[in-house]
């Protein structure tokens, strides 16, 4: 699998993502600077976490207008899988590649902690390495992860099986205490119509190394490598 990681001014989990991808794919991924307009063909495009442009107006709002994003949108339209994590998720919603928006956390504070989330379905490129309904533990680290969409959009997402992950307890129950940011219907990640674009707030790339306290994120990358081989 050849992957590209888009780097914006202010990205700060680009290296974490490159590490996770290299571990899974056995070869380095490509880092693509936001000012580029084109890059070599790849099997997967990743928009990583961080604070692109400081997130000074709204998280992700300015990154959307970077030259590279036109190319990302074009390739997404052509079916190239795109993964947006944290700031990447925010950018993909701002770009209209995913529906909804990410609001300030309900607690109003930045939150960095391990959370549990349920894999809604293993029927996707991104979750093929998991079982449907599996509960995994990965960290979150964000200030604006409170997913919001209107009821109609939410119903459609659920109806079409496009909710990828939901925050839950270790036992897999949905309760408010297990939801780190107030996301509506406990949503942690969603797909586009074709399930080739995934956005999620938690950081699977920070849970791929036993030395760092957990490896539940590794299956996401391993699954991708297997699927995109």
């Amino acid at each position: 699998m050849k992957a590209a990681v888009i780097v914006f001014p202010g990205s700060n989990r680009d290296r974490d993502m490159l590490m996770a991808l290299e571990r899974a794919a056995g070869k380095p991924a490509l880092a693509v600077w936001h000012g580029e307009t084109d890059f070599e063909p790849v099997d997967l495009i990743v928009v990583p976490g961080g604070f692109s442009y400081g997130d000074y107006l709204r998280a992700g709002a300015m990154a959307v207008h970077s030259p590279i994003m036109r190319e990302v949108a074009k390739r997404a339209g052509a079916g190239v899988p795109v993964l947006g994590v944290c700031n990447g998720f925010q950018i993909l919603t701002e770009a209209g590649l995913l529906p909804g928006a990410l609001l300030r956390n309900a607690c109003l504070k930045f939150v960095c902690r391990d959370i549990h989330m349920k894999v809604e379905t293993a029927q996707s490129l991104f979750t093929a390495g998991y079982e449907s309904g599996q509960v995994v533990r990965v960290p979150v680290a964000h200030h604006d992860g409170n997913y919001f969409a209107d009821d109609e959009t939410l119903d459609r997402l659920e109806g079409e099986g496009r909710v990828a992950f939901r925050y839950c307890t270790q036992e897999g129950d949905f309760d408010e205490a297990a939801n780190p940011n107030g996301s509506i219907r406990h949503i942690a990640g969603i797909y586009n119509e074709t399930k080739t674009v995934l956005g999620l707030m938690p950081h699977p790339e920070n849970a791929t190394d036993p030395q760092l306290g957990g490896t539940d994120g590794a299956a996401l990358f391993d699954g991708l490598v297997a699927a995109l081989h």
Binding site: H65, L103, R104, N105, A106, L108, G182
Partner: protein, 85 residues
């Protein structure tokens, strides 16, 4: 020509910041305070001299960048003390 833009959350979108401010005001003894909503306020020099042109430009800026239509409304005032839209 200056423009003043207000970006506010749509009704129906939860405003935790506003709620937190309300809570804090109550705690400070302003018990009669009702709903509080918090938004953004952006003042900018448009570099245009014609009000109509300035408005069109700012309208454009709001759509492209300053507001996210999924969650936010915006309103524009050109120059000072003009009636709001």
């Amino acid at each position: 020509m200056k423009a003043r833009v207000h970006v506010t959350l749509k009704t129906g979108v939860l405003d935790p910041q506003g709620k937190a401010v309300q809570h804090a005001l109550h705690a400070l003894g302003f018990g009669s305070v009702g709903e509080v909503r918090q938004g953004k306020f952006i003042e900018l020099e448009t570099g245009e001299s014609d009000p109509a042109k300035a408005r069109t430009a700012v309208e454009e800026m709001c759509k492209k960048l300053l507001a996210n239509p999924v969650i936010e409304n915006y309103s524009i005032q050109i120059e000072t003390r003009e009636a709001e839209e």
